[in-house]
Amino acid sequence: MELLLDSLFNGVAIGSVLLVAALGLAIVFGLMGVINLAHGELMMLGAYTTYVTQLIFKLPILKPFYNSYIIVSIFLAFIVSGVVGILLEKTIIRKLYGSPLETLLATWGVSLILQQFVRSVPLAYGTGLVISLIIGLFLPTTFPPKIKESINFKYFKFSSWILAALSGVLTGSVISSTVSKLSRASARNVDVTAPSWMRGQVEILGTAFPKTRLMIIVITLISVIAITLFLNQSAWGMRIRAVTQNRQMSDCLGISTEKVDIITFGIGSGLAGVAGVAVSLLGSVGPNVGGNYIVGCFMVVVLGGVGNLLGTVLASFGIGIMTDLIGAGRLLSIWPDMPLPLSNTINFFATTSMARVMIFALIVIFLQFKPTGLFPQKGRMVEN
């Protein structure tokens, strides 16, 4: 019983990291049919945001609030990754409509640039750049409609970008002069230390659970609930669902698909940032951290089916629990006296990398029976 509970908890913990990472990917994929290969790097940005927030909260002014930095960094990571995602959509992805394979390649290029960016630009100036992006993208939308409609709006836009650039440079230099760890570029991995209230373990039903893992499960739970409410209850959520189901028809009925795309992409990328916070709690953070999770996320999306959150949830927990069952060789401890050939096979697959091999094989077998995932979209098209 205890073993089973332990196994279930581990599986859910692995699955919840996958879920929060795959959630954003699944939404974007459902909407545009695009797999964003830079999703892992958006996660990496979220993880680095956590690191930067942590260091900033160590400054004397913010020291009293140090314990709450992880909560703050969740929101900041959402904003940072979301803004980078919006920029990506506005500059590249929009141009590649209807050609998902090209988008795949372009986003891979973006991911290379982001990785090298983190390596060769000091994090302080990176923060400055992100802040100027936020101001430059959002300041023009806050202007009163009178200015927005005037013919000189482009000058206002231009001047707001100048303001944004100035404030970005200012933030960058302030941070780099106060926090010495952020003032130099480095390719080395960094570590995020959890605040004191998140260290240690909690005992439930006689089994000890690490608090960080529980925190990740909580983050995932909140993200899933929030995104479900947003998609099902809000006006924009309804528009997003409409465009996901039928883009042309929604366009004809007066939904601004352009805005829907931006919002969806922003939210999807923001969720990647939140996933980054979760990842930063699990291990050290480096430029390649996203690559470890990205293929797992793809598998979740493929297994779950398009445009269905329930499918995504089930697929990620399924993969998580299977990873734990196979990778830790738990079947052997549940059923110790199984026949020798079977136990040898299980031992052969009882490492993290071999568990991946096994799970992939299982997914391919599954796709033989249900090629479009757990919950396929219904339709009468020839394609899909």
């Binding site: 695009v34 141009k95 394979l101 390649l105 290379l112 640039i113 990785q115 990398s353 020839v382």
Partner: protein, 376 residues
């Protein structure tokens, strides 16, 4: 995608070939050993690029897992080389086995004692694996992005498998070939490397002709049909699964040959050949060179890799930026690649933009139709 519109004079073509062959023969004496070795390696990479062009440029299947077949070919060659030069090691098995306490040769190494078997294995094993993966995927009409993701995932599976199995194939360390013997000669020696360069050059040309033969005629037309409108091909009575499986395994076989040639020239095969970035790079060579133009794939592979080695020698950090920028630029601004742009209307459009060449005047309706065709 435009098919070559130029028809050169026969004499020009002939003299081009003579020049090319003369260059290939003379290359070892013109280039320093290091550069010659690099050129040989990049030429062997252009064979895998040809395969990528066949499946992506002509059939529209974006595989992100060509590294599997590339590495399988490399492993076949390396296993043969290791086994033939293991006579002085304990138990007559390759040296690394002793590190892990293995005394008996694993069963799948046995056939690689025979050079004939190896010669066929290098391209048949990757082709069979590709055919199997392809058939399982295509049978379910999995395509587009799903196909790309599945190939990438299978790449990771193979990587994990090869990386983890020390006792079978030396795991993450890979198999070294440069100190092994082939026909009494050291593989890493200068004279052998020169021969490998010539073999590679000949095989690139042979692979080019083979690929040209594949895309010519009905078979090639069906491939292009699958790329442009697969349901229509199916409704016309063809079974796309068979054609896709065949072309995917052809690409796998080409990748295997390429991997074997690359392995003997770089001196090692390791699971690093199966990393995700390397397989995506193969796609970008083709994208830059011009997909749907076979020559573009070859030129793209050779030139981008040469640029990579030159840039990385001078400015190590900047190559990632350049490569990432290249991906974005090619996809957004130059979707047909450099060669496709030259063969298409690219140069004329450029000249028109600067007012150096007059616009072609056609019927207005024709231009409208053309525009519609572009948007599809």
């Amino acid at each position: 995608m435009s098919i070559s519109k130029f028809k050169f004079d026969k004499r020009i073509v002939l003299s081009f070939w003579i020049l090319l062959i003369a260059l290939i023969i003379a290359a070892p004496s013109l280039l320093p050993v290091f550069r010659l070795n690099l050129l040989g390696r990049y030429l062997s990479l252009s064979i895998v690029a040809l395969g990528v062009d066949l499946i992506w440029g002509y059939t529209g299947l974006l595989s992100l897992g060509q590294g599997i077949f590339f590495a399988l070919g490399g492993y076949c060659a390396a296993m043969y080389l290791q086994i033939t030069s293991s006579s002085e090691f304990p138990n007559n098995i390759p040296e690394f086995f002793a590190l892990y306490g293995v005394e008996k040769l694993p069963f799948f190494w046995e056939p690689f004692k025979s050079p004939v078997f190896t010669f066929f294995a290098i391209w048949i094993i990757p082709a069979l694996v590709a055919g199997l993966i392809g058939f399982l995927v295509f049978r379910n009409r999995i395509k587009g992005v799903y196909f790309s993701i599945l190939t990438q995932a299978s790449l990771l599976v193979f990587f994990n498998f090869f990386n983890g199995q020390q006792k079978l194939i030396n795991g993450t360390n890979g198999l070294k070939t440069d100190v092994t013997q082939l026909f009494g000669q050291m593989v890493g020696s200068e004279s052998m490397q020169r021969i490998f360069f010539w073999i590679t050059a000949i095989l690139v040309i042979a692979a080019w002709f083979f690929a040209k033969w594949v895309v010519r005629g009905r078979f090639g037309n069906i491939l292009i049909g699958i790329r442009d409108d697969e349901p229509r091909v199916r409704f016309t009575g063809y079974n796309p699964v068979i054609f896709k499986t065949i072309v995917f395994s052809i690409a796998g076989g080409l990748a295997g040959i390429s991997g074997a040639l690359y392995t003997v020239q770089s001196g090692i095969v390791s699971p690093q050949f199966m990393t995700v970035p390397f397989s995506i790079e193969m796609v970008i060579w083709v994208a830059v060179g011009g997909r749907g133009t076979l020559l573009g794939a070859i030129l793209g592979a050779v030139f981008i890799n040469y640029a990579k080695s030159l840039v990385s020698e001078a400015l190590p950090a900047s190559w990632m930026f350049i490569q990432g920028g290249l991906f974005i630029l090619v996809v957004t601004a130059l979707p047909e690649g450099v060669l496709g742009w030259i063969q298409g209307d690219g140069p004329r459009n450029l000249l028109q933009r600067f007012g150096l060449k007059r616009k072609i005047e056609t019927y207005p309706s024709l231009e409208v139709n053309n525009k519609e065709g572009d948007n599809e």
